[in-house]
């Protein structure tokens, strides 16, 4: 069998950790914006290795976690119509709406298909052409080009039964809102790798320019993250706020032009509600006029209704880095992965789920 361990992974890690320790001169807080980073940090046990002075806090980059209750309720209301198929990413199955979840609806007989790629939803619509297929599109810039491609493909094929319920969101506006509120105390950002493959470096420049904070676009392997932290410390030491790229093997400064063009062609930015964060200007994506026929919320006349977040749930504060999961009075008692109150407890990338699952050893 192939040896899976990368050469000297532990050795390289220990070299990086030594360098990190040397540069750590006081309490510093870095925010990992992206949920995939949160999971990788927990899975690799990075917190258990970092010097005491460095604190990593999770940010708003978990697409499931920021999907508001009202949108889950809206999707469930459409799902309950006759003969409807709802296609969704698996992560959303257990996210609680105000009175039900996809998981519970499925147990009651609703037709929900878990898909991996947006094009799978188009294929379902083609195969089952006599039934409306609604794709509940959740995700950030990483996923939106593929969702745009699915919309175009369905339009090219002339599928009259394919609909989109868009809950897509954009990362930089959320970061801007977070920093502008001035409440969160951080010393730098571990910036998302996958999102940056699409959008490149420019959309983050305001972080350094307007808020005087460094950011490093970082990959998802444990060693990437350690190197990203090292680069942040380096900028901190120099007193220079810059946006750097650690994840050079995948991210180009200019991003992926074609992916951005197709997003631009299919979607337009709109104000959007983020769970816990409220309405953020131009932070969501809606179908442009030329694709408006596919908009599930108008086609089925079930509009989005704003709903309050569940009482007591600190998801919003946690997503903004004001609190860590154990601060929440519901954490581990009223809110567990088996009986979640907030989405941060169920999403694979949610920080509450990660703290609950891996927390004890960190």
């Amino acid at each position: 069998m192939k040896q899976l361990k990368k050469p000297n992974e532990e050795k390289i890690a220990s070299v990086l950790l030594k360098k990190i320790s040397k540069l750590t001169d006081g309490p510093l807080r870095f925010m990992e914006v992206c949920g995939t980073h949160t999971i990788s940090i927990f899975r690799s046990g990075i917190r258990s290795l970092l010097p005491k002075g460095i604190e990593l806090i999770s940010g708003p980059g978990c697409p499931v976690c920021v999907t508001p209750v009202g949108e889950i309720d809206q999707a469930i209301a459409i799902l309950r119509l006759d003969d409807v198929i709802l296609a969704t990413f698996g992560d959303l199955m257990r996210v609680p709406g105000s009175s039900s979840s996809f998981h519970q609806e499925k147990a009651m007989g609703s037709d929900i298909r878990v898909i991996l790629s947006p094009l799978d939803a188009v294929e379902i619509a083609q195969r089952e052409s006599d039934r409306p297929v609604i794709f509940f599109a959740v995700g950030f810039e990483t996923t939106s080009p593929a969702i745009a491609a699915a919309v175009k493909e369905s339009s090219r094929k002339g599928l009259a039964n394919f609909y989109l319920l868009s809950s897509q969101k954009l990362i930089p506006p959320a970061m801007k809102a977070l920093l502008s509120a001035g409440k969160v105390k951080i010393n730098g950002f571990i910036l998302p790798g996958h999102v940056s493959v699409i959008i490149g470096k420019a959309p983050y420049e305001f972080i350094a320019r307007d808020f005087n904070l460094p950011g490093v676009i970082t990959g998802f392997e444990a060693l990437d993250i350690l190197e990203g932290i090292y680069m942040l410390l380096h900028r901190h030491k120099e007193g220079k706020a810059e946006i750097d790229i650690q994840y050079r093997r995948a991210v180009k400064e200019a991003g992926n032009q074609r992916a951005m063009e197709i997003m631009e062609e299919v979607f337009e930015p709109v104000d959007a509600r983020w769970r816990g964060l409220g309405i953020i200007p131009a932070s969501g994506l809606a179908l442009r006029e030329s694709f408006a026929r596919m908009d599930a919320s108008t086609a089925f006349d079930i509009p989005y209704e704003d709903k309050a977040d569940p009482p007591g749930c600190l998801c919003g504060e946690i997503l903004q880095g004001f609190n860590v999961p154990p601060d929440c009075p519901l954490f581990g008692t009223k809110c567990t992965p088996e009986n979640p109150v907030g989405p941060c407890m169920v999403s694979t990338e949610g920080s509450c789920a990660a703290y609950y699952k891996y927390g004890g050893a960190q």
């Binding site: 899976l4 890690a13 690799s44 992560d91 257990r94 519970q104 990483t142 444990a222 699952k357």
Partner: protein, 336 residues
């Protein structure tokens, strides 16, 4: 049991399955033979001990690379007997058949059951068939039960892990679940990975020959390695420390996991076992395992400690630590 309806998660082998078993089923049947919840019940009849177990098989699709529902139905039950050190005496097989199912399909399943039984040197000695209306089942479901005899001097149970014991696995984990996932074709996944579905009683017999005092044997089926190690840590009141770099995982399995955001420690296996053995016996046992076709890729993956009872700790590739808790329900693919 807040949501008083059965959901798929109840069948996934995680915490929710555990809750269903403990809060719904066990209160109705509680007794001293059932209570330990080992892979087989152990019944004493005079000087000898019998092992007794049952399992139902509902896999979709009915066949997949490396096996089918028939092979699973034989191997799964034989393996549950083997995990308490028992030699199988005979199996029962009950079939729930869906109206309209082609006889040819059933023949295929029966033929692979015959082949698996031959491999496990066990016979199906009683059985039953029922037919349900079209749509009331998905092709066919199988239930098998098995009885076996536990040789004198053998006492293998989930509650017997001791501080210092080494943990051995007989080969790479996750093949079965990934093979079935690929065969379902749901995620446009392609791959060549085959299920590890195989009877383990031959291997266990050789292992017990080499080392009579194996403390624990468990097959990491639903819920994967993480779930069985957690059960053992709790039943024995010990901590298990797992070395990530020693746990064998095929490159292809790892790739699919990376793609879907899955953790390989939760993937189901059908031809794997973990053994807890006294440290001084481990080397000899490992040699015996490696000499057996079902144990060629065996390796030591961890050790038992006295502190933090009930916890499974994973020492990661970069030298960090994290807890390995059972999943709540199913693993779902992540968004990006």
């Amino acid at each position: 049991m807040k949501n008083r309806r059965i959901m798929l998660a109840h069948g996934a082998g995680g915490k929710i399955s555990h809750e269903l078993l403990h809060e719904l089923f066990l209160p109705f049947f509680d007794n001293d033979i059932l209570r330990p919840l080992d892979d087989s019940a152990i019944i004493s009849t005079g000087p000898s001990k019998l092992a007794f177990t049952t399992d139902s098989y509902v896999v979709k699709p009915l066949s997949f690379p490396g096996g089918d529902i028939g092979r699973l139905a034989i191997c799964g039950t034989v393996n549950d007997l083997a995990m308490v050190g028992a030699r199988p005496l005979g199996l029962s097989a009950s079939f729930i058949l869906e109206e309209g199912l082609a006889i040819e399909e059933i023949e295929k399943v029966l033929s692979s059951m015959r082949e698996a039984a031959r491999q496990a040197t066990v016979r199906v000695v009683t059985g039953d068939t029922k037919v349900v209306e079209h749509g009331a089942a998905e092709g066919l479901y199988i239930n098998t039960a098995g009885i076996g005899l536990i040789p004198q001097g053998v006492d293998v149970r989930g509650s017997k892990a001791m501080p210092g014991d080494l943990v051995i696995v007989n080969g790479p984990i996750g093949d079965h679940e990934i093979a079935v996932l690929v065969a379902r074709g749901e995620f446009s996944l392609r791959g060549t990975i085959e299920s590890d579905c195989a009877p383990l009683n031959g291997l266990v017999e050789a292992m017990l020959e080499a080392c009579r005092d194996i403390h624990v044997l468990r097959d990491p089926t639903r819920g994967g390695l993480a779930a069985v190690l957690w059960e053992i840590a709790n039943d024995s009141g010990v901590q298990v420390v797992l070395e990530e770099e020693s746990v064998p995982i095929r490159e292809e399995v790892r790739r699919v996991c990376d793609l879907l955001g899955f953790d390989p420690y939760y993937l189901a296996n059908e031809g794997k076992l973990v053994a807890f053995v006294p440290q001084e016996k481990a080397e000899k046992l490992l040699k015996t395992m490696k000499a057996h076709p079902m144990g060629r890729e065996a390796g030591i993956i961890g050790q038992v400690r006295a502190e933090n009872p009930g916890k499974v700790l994973l020492r990661t590739m970069i030298g960090g630590h994290r807890l390995l808790e059972p999943l709540s329900g199913e693993q779902f693919p992540r968004i990006c």
